[in-house]
Structures are given as structure tokens and as C-alpha cells.
């Protein structure tokens, strides 16, 4: 039986970063991955002349080499910053409206403010006040996070009462906006619906419509992307996966691909090891699960081993949304077909919340359509004269799970046809340029991610399940969680969260 300081289950972003940080700190760590490649949700696949990115749109928290963001600093520590060619994205996104107009948002606060003021002069004051609020919110929440990181344990009742009184005064923006939905805040500031839609586009990164999307996440996204700039990288997200995996091994960690964990071993109710799919047992002081809490408790433990406290703790959380995505290789350049901004959000009406309801249906109807043309960011991502576009909608898996196997392929291509028809309307001639195309349904995501519901963002990231309420606690001693299921999902947030988890564990093992 092999003994380790820590065992990590799953080489998704969280698992990779956990293993890398533990290895960096001199801990004996082993990482198991069931799939034949590392990366979890963020991988790539090949078709014909094309390599398709499956997840990454915009890497956050990178910053420039001169003014590094926290993620670049983490990659520096891992020694991989210079192994990868980072590509700065100049525009945050473009929102296209059903009337044929659209708004592109610059990745810079001043330019963005100036541009929006010129487009919506009657809302000039609100625009400036909005950005003030976004930035104030982010600095207050950073200050509060720093302060709470210093405190240890529960304060006395008297101190609690003082803190309760003082909090809204010390952190007024936080107190007022931290638990509001995006729609609530946008309604408070703006009248023009186009302006609201232009400022809220990042809701689709978390899979919650503006009415349910925590404004605090939107504020953070806006702030981080404007300050640290959005980045893509050469060679798809697989490049990061492989670089981090390499770093783990270079720093003395062990990584096993093609080897899933069969079960977690408990002794006296505490996690002490795992058994892999070959039946070999490994022991460690800490077990870190980078798969969903549901699969961790449900599939890696016997039913009688699952603490009742875990059941109760997870009851408020709902499995989140999946996606319906078309991966398309075109035999023309982005300019030829009319793509100028890499990331676009395309509306069929001016009511995003209403349109979002179609996410519960089987086929795409009015669903807001997300389209990313990676070639705009990285002209070398595919051969000269070609481009790569992924386009799709957020979709819940429920209706897809009801299909019989016989119906599946027909519906899958029907869904693909509808998405291509939407693109054809916006970019005439689009269909004739398709050279390769693959349709991924919620069931495809379920197959490759092994997530219930084919969830791509973990749990629903609504106000009562995210930010302050992520289900990050483990109910089994020595078992920890690190994935996007228990924290803000996405590349940057997940790497940084896992680093934090691993740093804490490194002090304990």
C-alpha cells in the first residue's frame, strides 16, 4: 500500500492546481484521472484539419507580465508562464440584438464608459455611477475577504454584535448589493434595455439568466476582465492542462491518467485512502475530490457511509445547466463571413429572462445564442484561410434525458440545424463554408464530464447557491473538495480556489 500526503481525485482544473500546489510545497501527492487526457471540462478534440476548444472563452485574472494578475502569478510559481503563448483579447464581447444592431464592449473601463456614454447619452450619469459601484463593490469585498482571512474562529457574542452593527457602515456597497440579482441592480441603474443587455452578457458564463444571476459575480467579472484583461492562449486549454500536469510531475508528484478512483476508504468515519480501478489501495492524510460532491458521496462511498449531515447540507443545491454546442470548422476567414469580435451573445428578443426559459426545452428556439470565433483571437488556431466557431445555447438535460436512444441522433442533428440556421441568418453564406461540424448535446457533456445533468458549471449558480453559499464544506474528516461544483466555476476562479485549498492542506499534512 502506497502512502502519500494527499490524494487528488480528478485532473480537472481544480485537481491539477491542487496537485501542482501540493507538489510545489514539497508534499507527496498523487493525482488520479479516469479520462485519457487531463483537463476535465476544459479539453480539446480533433476533426479533420481542426482542433476544437471545448470550454475556454476568456481566461481571467491573468494581467500582463508587468502587472501580473493572480493567475499569472500562480502560473509563474508553477514555472509554466513562459511555456505558453498568451493572447490578449481586445474586446470583452459583442451583444447582437434582434433589430440587427449590436454593441461591442471594450476591455478597458475608461474606453467602455466613454463608448457607452456616447451611445446612451441620456443615461450618462447612471453609466458612470454604475462603474463606480462595480469598482467600489470589488474593493470592499477584497478588503473584507482580507480581513476575514486574518480572523480565526468564532468571535464572542459581544464582538459579533459590534461587527453586526459596524458591517453595513464599513462595507456599504457590499451590504447593499452583495445578494442582489443582476436584473435587480440593472433595473435600479438603467432604463434602456439594450444597455442592460450590453452590461450583463457575462451571465452566460455562469448559466443563470439576469433575473437569477448574482450581480456580485457580474461585478467581479466586469472588474477582473477590465483590469486583468481577458486572455486566450495558443494551442487551446489542453496546453494549460498539459503544462500543469507536467509541472506536477516535474515537482515530484505522480499523475495517473486512464485510472479512475473506484472508492474512498474510510476508517472510523474519516477518509484515509482510495482504491483505484485496478483495485490498488493508496493511503494519505488528505483526500481531495475534484469531482462533484454528489458523485464523491454517491459513487465513491457505500450508502451507509454517507453522513446524514452531507445529505442535509446538499439539499438546497440544484444540479445546474448543460449546453447544446456546435463545433464548426469553416473553410473561410472570419472576415469573409463577418466575425470581428471573438465572443458574441445573440438575442432573439429584448427579454433575456423570457428567452432563457427555452433552455428547459429540448430544441433551441428563442434561446440566447453564444458564438465564439476563436480565429479572431488566434489566427493560427486553424490552417490559413479557415476559422473555428463554436456556437450554442445553454440547455438543461431533462428533456434530452427523456429521449429514447432511437430518437437521439435525429434530435441532435435537428438541434444543430437550428443553430446553424440562426448563424446563417446573421452571417449569410455561413452554411456553405462548413467543412467540419460536431454537435454536442447535454448528453454529450454528461458522457465526457461524467456530471449528473451534463452540468457544465456544477450547481446552479444563483444567489442562494453561490458566492457566500457555495457548498464547499466536507462532512467527512480529511476529505476536501476543490472543483467548480463547490466554488465559482471557470478556469481562473477554479485554479485560484484549488490553490487556496491546497495551500491550507499543505500546512496540515
Amino acid at each position: 500500500m502506497q502512502q502519500y500526503d494527499a490524494i487528488v481525485i480528478g485532473a480537472g482544473n481544480g485537481g491539477l492546481a491542487c496537485a501542482a500546489t501540493l507538489a510545489e510545497k514539497g508534499k507527496k501527492v498523487i493525482l488520479f484521472e479516469k479520462h485519457n487526457i487531463p483537463g476535465g471540462c476544459g479539453t480539446s478534440f480533433r476533426r479533420g484539419r481542426f482542433e476544437f476548444e471545448v470550454a475556454l472563452h476568456q481566461l481571467s485574472s491573468m494581467g500582463t507580465p508587468e502587472k501580473p494578475g493572480p493567475l499569472r502569478e500562480l502560473f509563474r510559481r508553477y514555472g509554466i508562464e513562459n511555456q505558453i503563448e498568451w493572447i490578449e483579447i481586445k474586446e470583452l464581447f459583442r451583444v447582437n440584438f434582434p433589430d440587427g444592431t449590436g454593441i461591442s464592449i471594450p476591455a478597458d473601463r475608461k474606453n467602455c464608459e466613454a463608448f457607452l456614454c456616447s451611445q446612451f447619452p441620456q443615461e450618462k450619469e447612471s453609466i458612470l455611477r454604475y462603474f463606480e459601484t462595480v469598482y467600489a463593490f470589488c474593493s470592499e469585498s477584497a478588503a473584507f475577504a482580507e480581513k476575514s482571512a486574518q480572523s480565526t474562529g468564532e468571535p464572542s457574542a459581544a464582538k459579533k454584535a459590534i461587527m453586526k452593527m459596524g458591517f453595513p457602515k464599513m462595507y456599504p456597497t457590499l451590504a447593499r448589493y452583495a445578494l442582489k440579482s443582476t436584473q435587480e441592480v440593472l433595473d435600479e441603474f438603467f432604463k434602456d434595455v439594450k444597455l442592460q443587455l450590453a452590461l450583463s452578457a457575462y451571465w452566460c458564463f455562469m448559466g443563470m439568466p439576469p433575473a437569477r444571476f448574482p450581480w456580485s459575480i457580474l461585478a467581479k467579472c466586469t472588474n477582473i476582465y477590465m483590469e486583468d484583461k481577458p486572455f486566450y492562449l495558443r494551442g487551446t486549454s489542453m496546453m494549460m492542462n498539459q503544462a500543469i500536469m507536467d509541472a506536477v510531475q516535474r515537482m515530484g508528484g505522480v499523475v495517473h491518467l486512464n485510472r479512475g478512483v473506484e472508492r474512498i476508504v474510510l476508517e472510523g468515519g474519516a477518509a484515509v485512502g482510495v482504491v483505484d480501478e485496478k483495485g490498488e489501495e493508496y493511503r494519505a492524510s488528505k483526500i481531495i475530490s475534484n469531482i462533484s460532491p454528489l458523485a464523491t458521496y454517491g459513487a465513491l462511498l457505500q450508502p451507509e457511509e454517507v453522513p446524514q449531515a452531507a445529505q442535509e447540507y446538499l439539499r438546497p443545491y440544484t444540479i445546474g445547466i448543460s449546453a447544446l454546442t456546435c463545433f464548426i470548422g469553416l473553410d473561410c476567414t472570419p472576415e469573409e463571413i463577418g466575425f470581428a469580435t471573438s465572443f458574441t451573445l445573440n438575442y432573439e428578443s429584448f427579454d433575456a429572462n423570457e428567452d432563457f426559459k427555452d433552455a428547459y426545452k429540448l430544441l433551441p428556439e428563442k434561446d440566447p445564442l453564444v458564438a465564439t470565433c476563436y480565429t479572431v483571437d488566434d489566427p493560427e488556431i486553424s490552417p490559413p484561410g479557415t476559422s473555428i466557431i463554436t456556437a450554442g445555447t445553454l440547455k438543461y438535460s431533462a428533456e434530452w434525458e427523456k429521449l429514447t436512444p432511437e430518437q437521439y441522433y435525429e434530435k441532435k442533428y435537428e438541434a444543430g440545424k437550428r443553430i446553424v440556421a440562426r448563424l446563417e441568418k446573421m452571417y449569410p453564406g455561413f452554411t456553405d463554408h462548413i467543412e467540419e461540424m460536431e454537435v454536442a448535446t447535454p448528453l454529450t457533456h454528461m458522457r465526457y464530464l461524467n456530471h449528473p445533468g451534463g452540468a457544465i458549471y456544477g450547481y446552479e449558480q444563483d444567489v442562494m447557491s453561490s458566492v457566500f453559499f457555495f457548498p464547499a464544506e466536507s462532512k467527512i474528516p480529511n476529505l476536501e473538495f476543490a472543483s467548480g461544483w463547490v466554488n465559482a466555476c471557470g478556469f481562473g476562479p477554479n485554479y485560484l480556489f484549488a490553490d487556496k485549498v491546497a495551500t491550507k492542506i499543505a500546512l496540515e499534512v
Binding site: N36, I37, S44, R46, R47, G48, E51, Q83, E154, P155, A157, M163, K164, P168, L174, A175, A178, L179, K180, G235, T236, M238, M239, N241, Q242, L257, L294, A295, Y297, G298, A310, Q311, E312, Y313, L314, R315, P316, C326, D331, E401, P405, E406, Y413, K417, H433, I434, E435, M437, E438, V439, L443, M446, R447, L449, N450, H451, G454, M464, F468, F469
Partner: protein, 388 residues
């Protein structure tokens, strides 16, 4: 119970109390979310079964040196597939566990069984076994169905040109049978290249379909000259395609056959002005004699034996055989599916040494950058160390 500091502070936020109350209620009244087992696995199994447990239900001759093997499921269930896809069949032959991908040739409109066709190949380690040993009642495991050589209704033309060579007819049989069984609104012209009529698989069935179904046109093209043959003779080249299929430019073209034929037809079509997007090719395993591949090191004969170190163990590897084959011979279990460089399941990391890469490998950029190989199409040309 006294509130924690976190709850206390959250309570001071706008909406705070209301959300905390919601969570408290949900913890009490909402249903349990943790269920035994992995839900995703269970839901996805009817579409993509991890391992197929198959049993041979019949073996029938077709043509001179080929057999149709009908496989049914030991548990009665076979997942659906798209016409043109393959299964990868595992077999243990002379103590070596290996596998071969076979296109399914039966129609996807029935799933009581999958049929595959095995044709004799020269020195065919597996095909000899399949043709000479396999009998009704034998069992196999397999993975798949998999593969992307299929009609993609979103952007392929409803008019198809099928170019088949030898046993490369098998995926087309599945596609055609589906079109005919289900009466699909599609139109197909098939040019089937074979050495002689005896080698042409399913010739009678294809001729019958062509006679009965106006949306299917069939030309057998023989490469050997034969007495009494009044049909097409020669190769499937540009002139023949242009003559037999004047509307070729409006069709999506599909090629499946030996690598030489596959490459030749592709270049003929490109030469005729058919764009890449209208040329769909079935992937292919590496040439039997890899030393004939362009770029093969001239000083190597394919017979050299090198040391292959894998996770600390040293085994023998012949330069003319893929790393995957060497691993299988030594009993090392490697994930595998397409054996054609496409699916990446057999990916391994090259730690040291040199390998020769056959054509047609679909590698990721990151794999290139970090030294990963698809072992099915990588050949050792020095002592080599790999990591699984």
C-alpha cells in the same frame, strides 16, 4: 442555536435574512440529492455503453475470402449507432490481447445485432483468426460504436458519391441499407473498386438495390482485366468519376478503402475542383509495411529490435510494428479504439528516444508540445522510453 459570524453578517445584507431562511427551509424539506452510484454513468449507458459484451450469432460466407459475422449482445441490448461507424473488437490470439476496428455493415434501423465483414488480408494476424477460428457462440468484448465517417445532415448534401475500395465497402453497406430500409430522401451513386468480381463483396445485393431503387446507382470498377466483363475497368480516377457522375460537384463524396486508394481518390477529387469540405474520408490503419511510408528512415528495415521501457519495465519492440502492438505483445493494457491515429485513446508520453509517425494522425497541439504520441501509429526507430 447562536448564529455563526458568517450568518450574522450575511443577515445584515439586503435580502440576507430572506436567503438564509430559504436555505434553512430547503435543508429541512427538500429531497435528498445524494443517490447511490454515478447517475451520469447510468443515464448515458443506453447511448454509449462502456463495454459491449457480444456473442457471435452466425457466421456466413460472402465473396471468396470474406465472412459476415453477426454479433448480438449477451445482455440483449445494443446501443444505437450512426451508419458508417465502427466497433473495436477485442480478441486474445495466441496469448496476445489485441483489437481491430470493424465498420458495422448492418442497418442501424435494427439493433437485434450488429454485422461486421472480415476479409482475408495478407499475413493478417487477426483476420486469419476471425475467418478460420471464430464460430457461432464465441464471445467478444468491444468498444464503440464510434467514428465520424457518416452522413451529417446539417451540412452534407442529400446527394452522395460513395467511393469504395475492397473491404472498404462495409460502412457504405450500413449507410445504403439504412437509406433503403427507411426509404430516406437521399440519392447515392456508388463506385466500387475491386480486383475482380470474386473479390467484390455484396455485389449481388448491391446490383439488386440498384435495379429496384431509382435513388441508387451502382458501378463496379474492376482493376484486373477479366474475360467477359463488360463493366467498368481500371481505377476510380477523375475521368471515370466525371463520366459516370456528371453532377459530382453537387455531391458530398465519401471515400473508404485501402490507404493507397483513399489517397488517390482524394487527390483526384481535389484535382476536379471538389473542395475539402465535400470529401469525407474514413480513417485507416497504418500501412502493413510501414517501411514503404514516405519519410521512413532509409537505414531501417522494419526488423530491428529496440528496447522499449514502459513505467520501468523493459520490453522488445520491432521498428516495423507500432508501439501499441509492442505493448500488446508484452501484455501491457492500453486503452484503444480506432487504431488509426484519430481517437487518441492510446495516447502515451514519449520520455526519450525517437519514433516514426505514420500519416493521418490527428494530434492535438498540446500533445505535440509536450511529447505525447498516439501509440497505434508510432514506430520505434531507436530505444524508446514511454509513460502510460
Amino acid at each position: 442555536m447562536a448564529k455563526s459570524i458568517k450568518e450574522t453578517l450575511l443577515g445584515t445584507l439586503v435580502h440576507g435574512e430572506e436567503i438564509l431562511e430559504n436555505i434553512r427551509v430547503m435543508r429541512e424539506v427538500s429531497q435528498d440529492k445524494i443517490t447511490a452510484g454515478n447517475e451520469a454513468d447510468v443515464r448515458i449507458a443506453p447511448l454509449h455503453t462502456k463495454e459491449l459484451n457480444l456473442v457471435v450469432s452466425s457466421v456466413a460466407d460472402t465473396g471468396k475470402q470474406a465472412k459476415v459475422i453477426r454479433l448480438s449482445s449477451q445482455n440483449g441490448y445494443l446501443p444505437p449507432f450512426e451508419a458508417g461507424q465502427y466497433i473495436n473488437l477485442f480478441a486474445e490470439i495466441d496469448g496476445v490481447r489485441t483489437s481491430r476496428p470493424y465498420s458495422i455493415c448492418s442497418s442501424p434501423r435494427q439493433r437485434a445485432y450488429y454485422e461486421i465483414t472480415v476479409a482475408r488480408t495478407k499475413d493478417g494476424f487477426v483476420s486469419d483468426y476471425m475467418l478460420d477460428e471464430v464460430k457461432e457462440g464465441d464471445t467478444f468484448t468491444a468498444n464503440g460504436p464510434a467514428g465520424v465517417f457518416r452522413y451529417q445532415p446539417v451540412f452534407h448534401s442529400k446527394r452522395s458519391l460513395f467511393l469504395a475500395g475492397g473491404s472498404g465497402i462495409t460502412p457504405f453497406m450500413s449507410m445504403l441499407r439504412e437509406i433503403i430500409d427507411a426509404g430516406l430522401d437521399r440519392e447515392v451513386t456508388l463506385l466500387y473498386g475491386c480486383r475482380n468480381v470474386e473479390n467484390a463483396l455484396f455485389h449481388e445485393e448491391l446490383s439488386g438495390y440498384a435495379a429496384e431503387h431509382p435513388n441508387f446507382t451502382y458501378h463496379l470498377v474492376l482493376s484486373d482485366s477479366a474475360e467477359g466483363w463488360s463493366g467498368e475497368q481500371g481505377f476510380i480516377d477523375a475521368a471515370r468519376i466525371a463520366r459516370l457522375v456528371p453532377d459530382f460537384s453537387e455531391r458530398t463524396c465519401y471515400i473508404c478503402g485501402p490507404q493507397v486508394m483513399n489517397d488517390f481518390c482524394k487527390s483526384e477529387l481535389l484535382g476536379m475542383g471538389v473542395p475539402l469540405k465535400k470529401i469525407r474520408r474514413e480513417m485507416f490503419g497504418a500501412q502493413r509495411d510501414i517501411t514503404k511510408e514516405p519519410g521512413w528512415p532509409v537505414d531501417l528495415t522494419g526488423q530491428e529490435i529496440f528496447r522499449l521501457t514502459v513505467d520501468g519495465r523493459v520490453i522488445e519492440a520491432k521498428s516495423g510494428e507500432s508501439l501499441l502492438t509492442a505493448l500488446e505483445r508484452a501484455g501491457v493494457r492500453v486503452n484503444v479504439c480506432c487504431r488509426s491515429g484519430e481517437c487518441s485513446l492510446c495516447r502515451v508520453k514519449l520520455v526519450s528516444g525517437k519514433v516514426f509517425l505514420a500519416q493521418g494522425i490527428l494530434q492535438r497541439k498540446a500533445d505535440e508540445a509536450f511529447g505525447y504520441l498516439h501509440s497505434c501509429k508510432s514506430y520505434p526507430v531507436s530505444d524508446v522510453e514511454i509513460m502510460l
